[in-house]
Every structure is written in structure tokens, then in C-alpha cells.
Amino acid sequence: MRDIKRVEPLAVLLSRVTIGLPFSGAPVLSDISLEIPAGQWLGITGMNGSGKSTLLRLISGLLLADEGSVTINGLTLAEDTVWEIRKGIGFVFASPDNQFVGQTVAEDIAFGMANRCLEPEAIRSRIHQYAELLSITDLLGRHPSSLSGGQKQRVAIASVLAMEPRIILFDEATSMLDEGSRREVLGIMKQLHAVNRYTLITVTHDTDELLEAERIIMLADGSVIGDGSPEELLIRDEWRSKCRLQTPYMLQLCRELQRQGIGISERFTEEEVQKELWAFISKTSLTNTRMASCSRG
């Protein structure tokens, strides 16, 4: 293999962005700089009012910055470029109901493509392509009021994918779903990341969703207080509490085990904790066997 460092192009570049509330002008985000390489899965967390959603709205051009510049896929965001930039960005919102425009699933998936004046044949073929991908082909003729929240979020994702964006934003897209549907949507995000074609930016309060991301940033009072891998950020108690995240059960358990004399590292998922425990057992039982054989000898 040739050893060439590939320089990833930037999907998003924010430089010194400040934006205030519409009337009072109180800063929602102040002096934020951020680089998101193409293909990355970035998780964003922070307490309510910390500016998470504002950040996504800035990236999609639903809001324009008061100061600083926003560059998306190499284009700088301004009044006249916003429509061009939006072609490369998909936005999945929190409410399954309020982002459903069409009277049927098919019509909703078509909405964005119709806005781009795609040919009807192209629209229809993409509807089927992406409906199949998200296993909603059976639902294409249904009215939204006969769908579950999870099904509606699938439709929302299909309608975004059908526009073939390079960046997909998820604004707490799983927060209003039941646990089963939440897992399903999280599974879809993982698949999207795995195909390596999309930059994913997900805003969430969920620890397991954050753990799936490659990198997370923590926002508090309109500034980035932490930027790094999910594990290294989430392990810090003071940062977690600034984002109003709880200590995950497994982390608490690891700390309790340590306190009770079982020296395993701090982990977040039960698979990892199990691995740690096995490593611990094999270490100790080897010593045990060795000790046993010593005493015999």
C-alpha cells in the first residue's frame, strides 16, 4: 500500500461565527470556529438553549450569521448562495409530524425533488429507490395520520436522501420516538455513516447516540466547551453535567467495581464492560493457577 495521507475536503467550515437572538441580540452562539471534514459523523450535545439547534440552522442556511463566515462544501453562505448550498444539505427535524408536507408518503418524499424541478420519471424512480432502502415501500400510498412516529421519521430520512445531499443534519431526530423506533433510526444513521458518502451531524441528548459518533462537540452558553472523541469527553463528570447528561449506568458500575477493589477500566457499554471483566478474570485466574501450581510444587 502506498503511504499517502489523504487530505479530506471540508464539508463545513465555520470561522468565528456569532449570532444573536432576533430582538434582544443576546448572543446564542459567540465566536464559534469549527471544521468538519467530509464523511465525518459529528455529534453535538449541550443543554437546552446552549445553541445546538441554532448551529444546525446556521449550517443549513435557515439562519444567517451576524458575524463570521460559514462555508459549506466550499461555498460561502450568503443570501444568494443559500439555495445552491441547500442542495447539498438534508435536514431531519425532531417532530415526526411537523416535517411531513405531503398527503401521502410518496408525495412527501417527492416534495424536495419537485422543488428542484426534477423530471417526474426521475422523481418516481428515486421514490422507489429510497423507499426500498428504508423499507417503507408498503407505506407509499398512506396518509401520515395512519403512520407511527418511527415510520414518519423513516419517511423524513427517505425524503432527505432522495435529494442526494452530501451533508445530513439530524436535530434530535430520535427524541420523540419510542425506544424501539429510536434504535431503528440510530441503526439507519450507522448505515448511512458506513457507506462513507455522507457527512452526518447529529444533535442529541442521548449518550448512546453520541457514542456512535466519531467526534462530538459539547456546547454551553453558546461556546464549544469540549471537542474530541465521545469516550474522552463523556467520561469527564464536569463536562457531562454542563450538558445535563447523566452518568451512564455502565460508567457508574465500573466506578463502583473499582471502589470495591476490582480494577477494570471505565467503559460505556455492557459489551465493553463484559470484555473488561473477562480480561480481569483471565488475569486473576492465571495468577491463581500459577499460585496453585507453585504451592503444589
Binding site: 440552522r57 435536514f91 408536507v101 408525495e107 417527492a110 419537485a114 428542484r116 424541478c117 417526474p120 435529494m163
Partner: protein, 266 residues
């Protein structure tokens, strides 16, 4: 609530009527309305009924669906019949019921009005049963195109109608939930003076309105994020194309119209 709303529901079957251009169906409906308007004798009713049954048969949708579409109107239809029976005094006197007398003319008018209503509703249901809602709104937009000359935007109007139809059930559900929440907090309108009742009901509209606004704002964001731009050209899933069968379908509707006119003149 959803199950009760049969009207305005698309029923996916394979029939030539399903495949028609929505514009031909809507124009046909206009012709049919004229014919209904001119129906004023048993003979005319017979023609209209036969024609409607033929149309309904062609949709491959069971008659029971149409019956369910008519059902909510049963009360009004009954009222119309009784009204005619009670107040029309033409033709031979049939029977006396207390102070009222029933005349053949009253019976005829009552039955004909009822039949007109049933036939019209059934055929209107046929359009909504055989046309996907988005094609219907698209057809509507396309038919209103001539109005552009007077500053009307048919595409915007069609989208608006579509969104309204999409959100009506949602907002009704929300209102129902809010109502139930207040009931469980002891709200009891019985025995309260009318003025107080009106005030309470009005104040309960506040959260419903707030909810509708919240939905509207979020919907607007989602539409804009998907590239919707007010007044910009858009395409659609379907291309509306007027085929020979649409012309034939439209001409078919001239048959009942002509028959009714002839019957009415004679």
C-alpha cells in the same frame, strides 16, 4: 376519528377510471353537477342512477364504500324528504297524518331531492376514491391556471389546499387531546351559564391555536430546508397528460346531461 372519515380517502384499485387525468374527472363532475341540477322527475333520476351505477361498477371498488360515504348525510337527506312531504301540496292527496296531509307531489319532490343528493355524493366520492390526493390537488392547480391572469397563483393555492388537508386530522386529534385533558381536570360544562361556557370553549382554543402555530413554523422550516422557495417553479411526481380515454370519459358524461335535458323539456 380517522376510520370515520371515508370521504377524501384514496382506494387503490386497478381500473380505467383510476388511470384518468384528474382534470377530466373534475370537469366531468362539473357536467354531472349540471345534470343533477336539472333532474326533476322519476325518469331523470332513473337515468342518473343507472349512469352512476355504471360508473361505480367501473371503478372496481365495492358499493359498500360508496354507501359509507353517503351514510353521514342520511340525517340531512331524511330531513329533506320529511320537509317536502310536509310542505309540498301538489298532485293527489295520499293520506292524512294528524294536521298534515301527504300529497303525491310532496312524495315525488322528496324522493327526487333525496336521490339527487345520494347520487351526487356517491359520484363525488368516486373522484376521491379513484384519485390520489396529490394528483387531485395537482389537477386543481392546473385547472385554475387561467386565473393566473387575475393575479392568482394556482400552484401556491394547490399546495395550500394539500397542506390543509394533511394537517386537519392532526389538529383535530390535538384538540381532542386538549379537551380530554381539561375533562380530566374536572371541566364540566353542564349547568354553567351560556356565557361562561362560551368563554371556556374559547380559552381552550388558545392551546389549539398555539399548537397550530408551532406546527406551522416547524413545517415552514422543513419546507425551506428541502429547497421550497415561494413562487419558484416546481415539478411534480406525476405529469398530467390528457389522453383519448379522458375525452371519451368526458363525452360519456354528456349522455346523462343530454337525457336529463330532453326529459326535462318534454
Amino acid at each position: 376519528m380517522r376510520t370515520r372519515m371515508v370521504f377524501g380517502r384514496y382506494i387503490d384499485r386497478d381500473s380505467w377510471i383510476h388511470r384518468l387525468d384528474p382534470r377530466s374527472k373534475m370537469t366531468a363532475m362539473l357536467l354531472f353537477m349540471c345534470a343533477i341540477f336539472l333532474t326533476d322527475s322519476y325518469a331523470a333520476v332513473l337515468v342518473m342512477l343507472t349512469f352512476s351505477l355504471f360508473m361505480i361498477k367501473s371503478t372496481n371498488i365495492p358499493l359498500s364504500y360508496f354507501a359509507r360515504a353517503v351514510k353521514p348525510l342520511l340525517f340531512i337527506i331524511l330531513f329533506i324528504v320529511i320537509f317536502h312531504l310536509a310542505f309540498e301540496r301538489g298532485g293527489a292527496r295520499f293520506i292524512d297524518v294528524g294536521p298534515f296531509a301527504i300529497y303525491a307531489g310532496g312524495l315525488e319532490k322528496g324522493l327526487i331531492s333525496a336521490a339527487r343528493m345520494v347520487i351526487f355524493v356517491a359520484l363525488a366520492a368516486m373522484i376521491s376514491f379513484t384519485t390520489e390526493p396529490d394528483r387531485l390537488t395537482q389537477g386543481l392547480g392546473s385547472m385554475m391556471k387561467p386565473l393566473r391572469a387575475v393575479g392568482f397563483h394556482p400552484e401556491k393555492a394547490a399546495l395550500m389546499v394539500g397542506i390543509a388537508l394533511r394537517f386537519i386530522p392532526t389538529i383535530f386529534e390535538e384538540a381532542e387531546r386538549i379537551w380530554k385533558a381539561q375533562l380530566s381536570r374536572g371541566l364540566d360544562l353542564t349547568g354553567k351559564p351560556l356565557k361562561q361556557r362560551a368563554r371556556l370553549i374559547l380559552s381552550l382554543m388558545v392551546p389549539v391555536m398555539a399548537g397550530a402555530f408551532r406546527r406551522a413554523i416547524e413545517l415552514a422550516d422543513s419546507m425551506e430546508a428541502r429547497g421550497y422557495r415561494l413562487g419558484a417553479p416546481r415539478s411534480a411526481i406525476h405529469t398530467l397528460s390528457w389522453k383519448a380515454r379522458d375525452t371519451v370519459f368526458l363525452l360519456l358524461f354528456l349522455v346523462p346531461l343530454a337525457s336529463v335535458v330532453v326529459i326535462s323539456i318534454n
